[in-house]
Amino acid sequence: MADTVLFEFLHTEMVAELWAHDPDPGPGGQKMSLSVLEGMGFRVGRALGERLPRETLAFREELDVLKFLCKDLWVAVFQKQMDSLRTNHQGTYVLQDNSFPLLLPMASGLQYLEEAPKFLAFTCGLLRGALCTLGIESVVTASVAALPICKFQVVIPKS
């Protein structure tokens, strides 16, 4: 789908430019650059969340929401489902994608492992934003052991 290509190219350019944005980051600098990308993802995730089909929003449980993200949201955005979802049933969820499209263009394996977090920040924000629209406050982080496999960790604090 040509539409996704445009998004992927734009995302790559954003990572390159908004990262290079702060040439002398200082001790808190790295986190700062990632938070810009994460913040943009959050904004977009919230807007996307508002556009999702209404009938899918009648969730009974938190787990249903996460399943929805793994299936419907992921398919809408990345044309594939999340490959696995695990939870400790206490508010922590690990979503694993074995061939994450935004990492695919990079080499597979351990090369560029250091660069990988930059390519995940926007998507972490996207997930957090979508959850926010669905009424859930969360903290979303991501980790990569070997490209293109990545894990998104969603922590929903208990009120």
């Binding site: 040509a2 190219f9 390159a16 943009m40 807007a47 996307l48 556009r51 089909p53 398919v75 955005v77």
Partner: protein, 181 residues
């Protein structure tokens, strides 16, 4: 077997929206980072250029267009094939001069501004869609064509249409590497 999820029409729209919304978030972020409209415009153009240099390969792979023999043909392909493929619109093309190297793309619809009603306050010189100019310029450069690409008119600025001007520049002297005696 039920219809695959990603073929549902709502998801197709979400896919289109994803790019447009992300672009909007990008412009908003740049407006935060840069006070002057010219700086934001320049940054968008620069990013577009980077995208264009890579997008052209994707375009050529998908479209299988043949060799072009005139600037007019190239502009037609940009409008009728590339814009259609990536943004789902077909701008109309006009030629602006007799030497046939200045063209305009008139955008009747512009998906990039779908969620934009008006420019932010104090941002009257912002070329919201300047990424497009950079993309076209970058793509053309990858096929060895130098061009100036700018917005000539912009509906967001109150003009009646949105018009992108493409001016193909003279090719450099191809004998520049001729050895001097």
């Amino acid at each position: 077997m039920s219809r695959p999820a990603h073929r549902r029409p709502e998801y197709h729209k979400i896919n289109k929206d994803l790019f447009v919304l992300t672009y909007g978030a990008l412009v908003a972020q740049l407006c935060k980072d840069y006070e002057k409209d010219e700086d934001v415009n320049q940054y968008l153009d620069k990013m577009g250029y980077g995208i264009g240099t890579r997008l052209v390969e994707d375009f050529l792979a998908r479209s299988c267009v043949g060799r072009c023999h005139s600037y007019s043909e190239i502009t037609d392909i940009i409008a009728q094939v590339a814009f259609k493929m990536y943004l789902g619109i077909t701008p109309s093309v006009t030629c602006n001069n007799s030497s046939r190297n200045e063209f305009s793309l008139i955008l009747d619809k512009n998906p990039l501004v779908e969620f934009v009603e008006e420019l932010p306050a104090g941002r009257s010189s912002l070329c919201y869609c300047n990424l497009l100019c950079g993309i076209i310029r970058g793509a053309l450069e990858m096929v060895h064509l130098a061009a100036d690409v700018t917005f000539l008119q912009d509906r967001l600025k109150g003009d009646s249409v949105t018009e992108i001007g493409i001016t193909f520049l003279k090719k450099r002297d191809e004998k520049k590497y001729r050895r001097k005696k």
